[in-house]
């Protein structure tokens, strides 16, 4: 895995093994903030940023813990890093765009419990990527998350105008839509490498 080409890492993370639709990571924000395209776009950007920061820090921490032979602390350290990165983004957004801060609401602090980000840190460790590969992997995963979120938001904006049976309103219909999207993404299987 060490010699995997950068473009294949990117495609693999973004499309073939899309974090949301193929690996089921980050479903909560995927269902929660995909009602409007604009919010979805901003949420996606925030997630990409947190992913990049935590990927870099996770790489550094993993190196340090391996040196010190303290690998059992890895999970605790990763989650602490992610929580701090999210705090950073929250302060940044609050300072520069209060309206965005309000529209993201509770989902901004909840990025901490977005398993896509912890998953990313764990996968990049398991795959033994070097620093550059980790960064590309993080970007790919973030772009994939943004893509899935935007597709879903687009569909749901259209759906808001459609007449659906009252029994299928809300989460049930969103899940069915997500299933169809996931089915479509399965068509990409086999282009990239193995499953994360």
């Amino acid at each position: 895995m060490q010699t995997e080409a950068l473009h294949s890492i990117f495609l693999n993370a973004a499309i073939v093994n899309n974090f949301v639709l193929a690996l089921f990571l980050g479903i909560c924000p995927f269902l929660g903030v995909s009602a409007k395209k604009e919010t979805a776009w901003n949420m996606g950007l925030a997630v990409i940023f947190v992913m990049l920061v935590s990927s870099m820090s996770a790489y550094a921490i993993n190196w340090l813990l391996t040196e010190l032979d303290l690998l059992f602390l890895r999970l605790i350290c990763y989650i602490a890093i992610i929580a701090s990165a999210v705090q950073l983004v929250e302060m940044f957004v609050k300072r520069f765009s209060p309206s965005l801060f309000r529209s993201l609401g509770i989902f901004l602090p909840l990025i901490t419990t977005n398993c896509a980000i912890l998953g990313l840190a764990l996968f990049q460790t398991a795959k033994e990527y070097n620093f550059i590969q980790s960064l590309v992997y993080a970007t790919g995963a973030g772009v994939g998350f943004l893509l899935a979120l935007m597709l879903m938001a687009g569909l749901r904006e259209k759906l808001a105008l459609a007449r659906v049976p009252s029994v299928s309103q809300g989460a049930a219909l969103s899940l069915m839509l997500a299933g169809l999207l996931s089915l479509a993404f399965m068509g990409f299987a086999g282009i990239g490498g193995s499953i994360g």
């Binding site: 639709l21 193929a22 690996l23 089921f24 990571l25 980050g26 479903i27 909560c28 269902l31 059992f72 999970l75 605790i76 989650i79 602490a80 929580a83 602090p109 909840l110 901490t112 419990t113 977005n114 398993c115 980000i117 912890l118 998953g119 764990l122 996968f123 398991a126 009252s166 029994v167 299928s168 309103q169 809300g170 989460a171 049930a172 219909l173 969103s174 899940l175 069915m176 997500a178 299933g179 169809l180 996931s182 089915l183 399965m186 994360g196």
Partner: protein, 220 residues
């Protein structure tokens, strides 16, 4: 979420039962969906994941409830996460010791229990404010509800997707497995179908109560 989080709740059967049905973390509150969808392609994975999550939920709730007067408000989320991560590490090594096969099947999702919002949600909304014995019962109920949800997805997906239950073939050799059910899209479809069913039951109940009150009004 619990209805009046600031009040100290007294222990009642409802503390346990509401986690199973009325406040089921998966079907009603839509929390912790990632493991629900990801590891339910077989029943055995679903049971293992449910038990692991319940263990972490119960242990961390107990500890958080015991420490609730000592944890400063400003750093409570960070403290909760560290406590949860500690128990997840224990489970992670525990499962590795018990069954490597299971460990490989569940993959990264054991470590991802840390990021399960059910646990943090219960810690924040319940364990950090209530007494020990109520918390214990509440977390057991929520854990049971979570396991029940995983199980209801896992059995359906295994039966449809590979024609087996707990690895035992149910149908004859002529059964053509519905492979898509054990692949990612199947998870979304089956959970969506369960939610549709619950919506339908809820709407019917509401309709019936409206009709009944309508009849009562006419009689008056």
């Amino acid at each position: 979420m619990s209805n009046l989080p600031n009040r100290i709740e007294s222990l009642s059967p409802d503390t346990f039962i509401r986690g199973l049905w009325r406040e089921n973390p998966v079907f009603v509150m839509l929390l912790g969906m990632c493991p629900v969808l990801a590891v339910t392609n077989t029943t055995i994975n679903a049971i293992a994941m449910g038990l692991a999550t319940t263990f972490v939920l119960v242990c961390s709730s107990i500890l958080i409830s015991l420490l609730r007067d000592w944890i400063p408000k400003q750093v409570r989320i960070a403290s909760f996460i560290v406590i949860i991560a500690t128990f997840v590490t224990i489970v992670d090594y525990g499962i590795q010791a018990i069954s490597l096969e299971l460990y490989a099947a569940l993959g990264a999702f054991i470590q991802l229990i840390v990021a399960n919002c059910v646990i943090l949600g219960r810690a924040e909304a319940f364990a950090s404010k209530q007494r020990l014995h109520t918390t214990l019962v509440d977390s057991l109920g929520m854990g049971a509800g979570f396991t029940l949800a995983l199980l209801s997805l896992g059995t359906v997906r295994e039966i449809l997707g590979s024609g087996t239950l707990l690895g035992i073939p149910l149908f004859g050799d002529n059964f053509q497995p519905w492979v898509v059910m054990i692949l990612p899209p199947g998870g979304f479809f089956v959970l969506g179908a369960w939610l549709l069913l619950f919506n339908w039951i809820r709407l019917r109940k509401e309709q019936q109560s409206i009709e009944r009150s309508g009849v009562a009004a006419n009689a008056n």
